[in-house]
């Protein structure tokens, strides 16, 4: 049997809402902090690392091949290569599964993987007309030409396009992510109250898990000029969150008839996660104790308009690839990334739907939804936040930590991916 990928250790920065505690740090700063903490806390000799693989959706313009920048800044030896991966919301998972693929292909045994995102620092962009004028201005030779071109600028040219909004809009269907969620809640008839109740529960669980989450979080020191405290915890979960307050929020994506609000959608957040992974044999030789193993994974495409259904297709594919194994019922823990409360609820309904199984998944029996008791037990992205490039790695880390705490055996981690994809993977402890 081929070697399994052992996940040995992982740490993450706190997840901070956009524009708050970590806003001064760039995606590479955050990634460096996570990787540095991983190296410091494990005491790993960076010489043994074969490659650094990091996911990031909006790579900063000043840190192209962000993974390389992170690796060098965190003190990895120069000869250790690094690659940045992008599979939208699953970028942090992609880093992990790519490590596995490289290991299986015999291209390395020890990897530092993870994901990072600074949604605070996704830049504003000039529109095409302004960019064009700037280009011509730069090329203009004579002063007269320069004046001519410069005087052609109009106020509207300086209206920026928010890179963040562009990134959250699907290029093919033209729908914003929130609009895709509205599609699902309409089709699966998920009332606003149910979405809000799910969001409230996410907050409640995240707040209750504060001490547990501290085990995976490393504080960020001297993060900003303003505060005089280390940043220690996620600042998304709201202790005082009430159903009434959630009910008052206006829908964001369909102002008239919609039900998706800022309160029942994932938060826009900054953060980074780093994981140390290695082949089982190498981990053993290095005396590293695995937290768990990556036993199976799948990515699969789906309708971009209904990208939120991605998890179903990915779970089904995993099962089809491994008959008799990896049904949701086998899991001691399940993480479904909470892109939107309504989207997760739609996924859960579809999991129990025989029609959906037959028509969309082309199988006889429904997948079978997990009990709420084992689903997103420490809260999800609605409360903790969704720094897109980092979330996948966070789910793996949080799930493995919790599996260890419960002395469970198997966890299923799954995400929907903007652009119409699903990702699912299985983690196992011995």
């Amino acid at each position: 049997m081929a070697s399994r990928l052992a996940i040995i250790a992982g740490y993450r920065t706190p997840f901070s809402r956009m524009g708050t505690d970590l806003a001064e740090l760039s995606a590479d700063d955050l990634g460096r902090i996570a990787v540095d903490a991983l190296l410091t806390r494990t005491g790993l000799d960076p010489e043994v690392v074969d490659e650094v693989i990091f996911g990031c959706v909006a790579q900063p313009a000043e840190a192209v091949n962000l993974a390389r920048v992170i690796a060098l800044r965190a003190g990895l030896p120069q000869r250790v290569p690094a690659v940045t991966v992008q599979r939208n919301c699953a970028s942090g998972l992609e880093a992990l599964t790519q490590a596995e693929e490289k290991m299986l292909a015999g291209r390395g045994e020890v990897f530092i993987v993870g994901g990072t995102e600074s949604m605070s620092r996704i830049p504003l962009l000039f529109n095409d007309r302004a960019s064009d004028r700037f280009t011509r201005l730069a090329r203009a030779k004579s002063l007269l030409d320069k004046v001519k071109i410069a005087s052609g600028f109009r106020p509207a040219d300086f209206r920026p396009r928010a890179g963040l909004m562009l990134g959250l809009t699907d290029a093919v269907s033209g729908l914003n992510m929130g609009e895709t969620a509205e599609v699902l809640v309409r089709e699966w008839k998920i009332p606003r109250e149910e979405q809000d109740a799910f969001a409230l529960e996410s907050h409640r669980r995240a707040v209750a898990a504060k001490e547990k989450l501290r085990e995976e979080i490393i504080p960020v020191f001297a993060a900003s000029e303003r505060s005089s405290e280390p940043v220690r915890d996620d600042n998304g979960p709201r202790e005082e969150q009430s159903a009434e307050a959630l009910a008052k929020l206006k829908p964001v994506f369909d102002r008239q008839c919609g039900t998706v609000t800022a309160g029942n959608a994932s938060q826009i957040t900054d953060g980074a996660v780093a994981l140390l992974v290695a082949s089982e044999e190498r981990a053993h030789k290095l005396g590293l104790e695995p937290m768990g193993f990556l036993t199976a994974s799948a990515y699969v495409g789906c309708d971009p308009k209904r990208m939120g259904m991605g998890p179903l297709f990915a779970i089904a594919k995993l099962q089809a690839d491994h008959p008799g194994k990896f049904g949701p019922a086998d899991a001691d823990l399940v993480e479904i990334n909470e892109a939107f409360a309504g989207q997760v609820l739609a996924v859960l309904r579809a999991m129990d739907s025989a029609d959906f199984a037959r028509n969309a998944l082309h199988r006889d029996d429904p997948l079978g939804a997990p009990e709420r008791e084992i689903l997103n037990v420490n809260g999800g992205a609605v409360a903790l936040g969704h720094p897109v490039g980092a979330s996948g790695a966070r789910l793996v880390l949080t799930a493995l930590r919790e599996l260890t705490r419960r002395n469970g055996k198997r966890a299923l981690v799954t995400l929907c991916v903007g652009g119409g994809q699903g990702a699912a993977l299985w983690l196992e402890r011995e």
Partner: protein, 712 residues
Amino acid sequence: MKDEHDNHGSAAGSNERNVLPSGVTLERRDDGVAVITFDRPGSSANLLDASVFGELGRLLDSLYASSGIRGLIFATAKPSIFIAGADLRALSENVSASDIEKLVDLGQRTFQRIADFPVPTVAAIHGACAGGGCELALACDWRVASDASSTRIGLPETQLGLVPAWGGCTRLTRLLGPAQAADLILKGKLLPARQAKKRGLVDAVCAPENLLDLAVRKAVPGENRPGRSVMGLLRRLQAPVVRPLAERKLKTTAEHYPAPGLALKVITEGALRPTRQSLRLEKEAIVQAASTDVCKNLIRLFFLREKASRKTGKARLPERMAVIGAGVMGAGLAQWFSSRGSRVILNDIAPEPLDRGMRAVRRLYRQGVAKRALTEHDARRGLDRISPADGPVPLPRLDLVIEAAAEKMEVKRKIFQELEEGASDNAILATNTSALSISEIASVCRKPERVIGMHFFNPVHRMPLVEIIPGDKTDPEITGAALDLARSAGKIPVAVGDKPGFLVNRILMPYLVESTLLWEEGFRVRDIDDAMTAFGMPMGPLRLLDEVGIDVAGHVAKTLADAYPERMQIPDVLNTLIQEKNFGKKSGRGFFHYGGRKPEPNQELEDRQTVTREDGPAGEDLAERPILALINEAAFCLHDGIAAGPEDVDLAMVLGTGFAPFRGGPLRHADSIGPARIVERLRALEKKAGARFKPCPLLLEKAEKNEGFHSR
């Protein structure tokens, strides 16, 4: 940064060349350009002395006579030095005025020949180009410089009590005008290549590999530097305005340091006179400056510093290290070592103190950028090398651990016990304690031989001294490695004995205590501090106590009072201030009040003086008692074997406390007063003020034999 660019001064081998015994090489290239390369044998530095000038003169003669020379280039074969300046040994102790005059004449004549050389002359500057080296470059028509980090150009003579006298004052004034010349010469600053270019000191900058080519291109068109310009003349006419402005800046130091004033006089007067006369002014000025004790003391300190900085073994800057404790010292150490290139784990027990430490580190880096000591990029790279860790973390693969935690024996012992378990076997385990016994800390370790004291001073980035303190079981190899490690980190180490207060704090404390006793006797804060700054201390003693922190000082005073009760005590006023939580600068109030633009004496405290002297310090030399207490303790340190010799005492006190450098250090100062006189004064004070002034046996011995601490 490593420079791996050897031999960029010498070109292809086919050309004709001859090497002279002092390492000056002449090479005539096929293109008609002559290259004179300096390569002093058996030394990493090129220096100027009579024999170099002699050979240089003869080479210039032969070139002058020969035909077909289109240009002349001066270059170096050393990896990081162009010409470091004059061989200062020629100016040591017993040189006569006429010797100096002779050497000045020789240098001026030689450089004038370069200035008068008929074809274009170019200095191809790579590495340190200081003093006489810079004066040679100034005599050339053109100056091109490599952008290597080792390239530094300037005239630092005044910092050694000297005046640039091989045409430096004269030619720099003519090149840049008196205002710029005064700025550069009076501060003695050495400029990196790009800054030198910005100021107009060099004409072009390029990579070391291209330096010779660029120099040739400067020489080949056959252009001498254009002679006098109207602008240049106008600039020189500013001299009468420049002088009073610059003099005002020198006011506070002029009394103790005459050289900058002398140089200013040459620059401003020489600006308006013919070159020949300006050169004569230079000569007069240097003869006057070099005859002073100030100059001799400064040069002696320079040599002591050089000697103490020389590595003796292989130990290098730690690649990886850890600092335990993120307080002021811990943060300062992490910042310093990370800025030099070490990866540093900064460890503290909880996130909050670590956050404060990391903020302090960030602040230090920001200050470094603001002062242009570092670029933004350097600062970020430096910060990236620090790994903050709250709580216990593994400490493998480290070269050095420095403990900088609370000054409590139990705390340190616990840390060292843990370090012995956790830290890699070959790491040096150092403590930055300023007061506790190294041997006692090490006694909890099974392998005390790798435990040592490395006492850095606060602020770490500014204080060059490190006291290296082996405990009774420390392996001498570890001591040697610690010394070299400090040197590699750009610090100057002095090995001292493991007795309370070690060297610097022990000598300083009686001085500080005596100053506070003066206050208790009714003298005013301002009068006491003014007396000591007038003596030449960089800061008054009461102000210094505020800076150090009254609580910290009280702690050290207690340690020392316990160890040497016959001479040291904790003044009541310190206890009072500590009780009232007036810890000095950090709490806003101590002997001074901090709040306004300038610290003002703490009026509330002064109002409480039980005794007052309405007449002020009339007729009293307030400096005498503190300084005598300090000298006596310095003698005790030597007597007790805390320092290896009087040189170490002097160097450590100058570097560690800023003890008036022009006086050469406490023992040098004692020698200049004469031990007999010191004993006499101490005995008088012993009668009047108490047994703490009882002279040290070593002083008595010196007085008896009528000899100084330093052999002449």
